[in-house]
Symmetry: C2
Subunit: 301 residues, 2 copies
Amino acid sequence: MNLKELSQNLGLSQTTVSRALNGYPEVSPATRKRVEEAAKRHNYRPSNRAKGLATGKALTIGHVIPVSSKHEMVNPIFGDFIAGAGETYARSGYEMILTIVDDAKEADVYEGLKARRAVDGVVVHGPRLNDPRIPLLHELELPFVVHGRSSGCTLPYSWLDVNNRQSFESATSYLCDLGHRRIGLVNGLEDMDFAQRRRDGYLTALKAHEIAPDPALMRSNEMTEVHGFNSAREMLASDTPPTAFICASMICALGVRRAIEDVGLTMGRDVSVVTHDDALSYLQNGDETPIFTAVRSSVRE
Amino acid sequence: MNLKELSQNLGLSQTTVSRALNGYPEVSPATRKRVEEAAKRHNYRPSNRAKGLATGKALTIGHVIPVSSKHEMVNPIFGDFIAGAGETYARSGYEMILTIVDDAKEADVYEGLKARRAVDGVVVHGPRLNDPRIPLLHELELPFVVHGRSSGCTLPYSWLDVNNRQSFESATSYLCDLGHRRIGLVNGLEDMDFAQRRRDGYLTALKAHEIAPDPALMRSNEMTEVHGFNSAREMLASDTPPTAFICASMICALGVRRAIEDVGLTMGRDVSVVTHDDALSYLQNGDETPIFTAVRSSVRE
DNA sequence: GAAACTCGCCAAAGCGCTTTGGATATCGGC
DNA sequence: GCCGATATCCAAAGCGCTTTGGCGAGTTTC
């Protein structure tokens, strides 16, 4: 059922039917009602494609997810982020198109989205320090919002982020106040902007407590369970092991926990762990009793 | 840059340019070359939208991810699945549109995709027993492929699946052969088809080893860490606790491990754990030394 | 050397919408 | 009873492509 059929069916012009359905005023209330009922009855829904052609709008937002060519890892928070975004799109009649791409070919993807007029705008995921995508998108004049921020970028841009610095500063201070002097940081890859900010927060808190940062206590890598395990394992093997850890994600923290127990210690008694909790649906921080002390922010919300 | 401009630019008709670019034979090699070079030079890419309107094809595949209204959980394997699918779409010039929807409203989404002619076909995720989406999609005449299967469904359909039954039968047999008589099953929700098959495999192996299944040793729920923890915790608290566990996912297994250690036992010495490993990039089964004994299949591949 | 093809190209219609620029009818107001 | 608003509606153009139906010019065929 398309506009033409529907309008013939009603004995009206396409113009009138289109206007009735889109809330324009040049239609009598009675006609509008008749049109709306017929549309519902015939399960008519305008073709997004034709609508887009006619209006120049795509009614579509692009999400391009970079995958590091080195690690091939898809950050698990994307699932939750996408779920949250999708709810909003569904309510607003927008479509979401997803592209997963090796980060080396990302520029090409943005150019393609623009040239094909496939989207009205994009969401930039996983911003790095001074991320080249921001100038690129400016140049392409493709509207965008960054999930996170990009330190060092001089161009203006819209972003949505949590306060990573403050969050890690609080967490670190909390541990310092408890008397910890050697605190291991199990961070994400440091070219990721969020990781940089988290480290800054960590360092700020150490400084405030007059603790000299020790490079041996700061590890960064893709936030996998294995990274958490390996990092903690190595730090714990040192002559002066940390008495506490701060982790960039629950997944890392699980690895840290495994390392702690692997060397015969008990988490929470011998070694403290604080983690950042993205509130992922499948990886809740315990039930009534949390597994980890955590700073939390729901990616999905 | 659109077709019209490009063809004027070349002093050719739109017809010829279109044909040159799409590999039709009615174009001389010299002209084709000239067109292709101009297209590249001007970074011309046909609008998917217009192309779709003209051809009736959408050049787009829909993925609709059901989210249980009760649990609001996004299965973490979707991220990896989507990444794998996206690679193929990118190579073939297809677009992927993603819809995340409360499973109660799923029918509406499929109808919408069909009525709006937004996609050429869809991938059905998370099939349940006798899944109503299969008859629905048949009725809508919307082509689809199911990731997994739907037992009890009498209609024909295309699917892609791993051998869940065989996999869990092998894993269970392996444990039985090691002498285990009480094996806990930490399964996914049992209205999910894969969970049913996994349980079947588990039961088949028990039967082959003349072990009577004990309902107290079979738990099923959303595959979260907490589910693994709670299930194992309760089973271990029994008078006749299991000596081994079989888990439906790495995430569950991590919870099971936590429960085991929580009661003062050691995994691998006091209690054995075998898990299904979806080979998620961020949740590898250890480095050189695996964390868990596992049956594995890469979702992404 | 004429009939019959084949090649290489083009004009125009059409895909399903929106939107511009009227057209017609109705209605006060004086 | 006429004029200018106002309220409703419509025909047609246009969005950027593909595809149908043709049309000359060159090539075979016999």
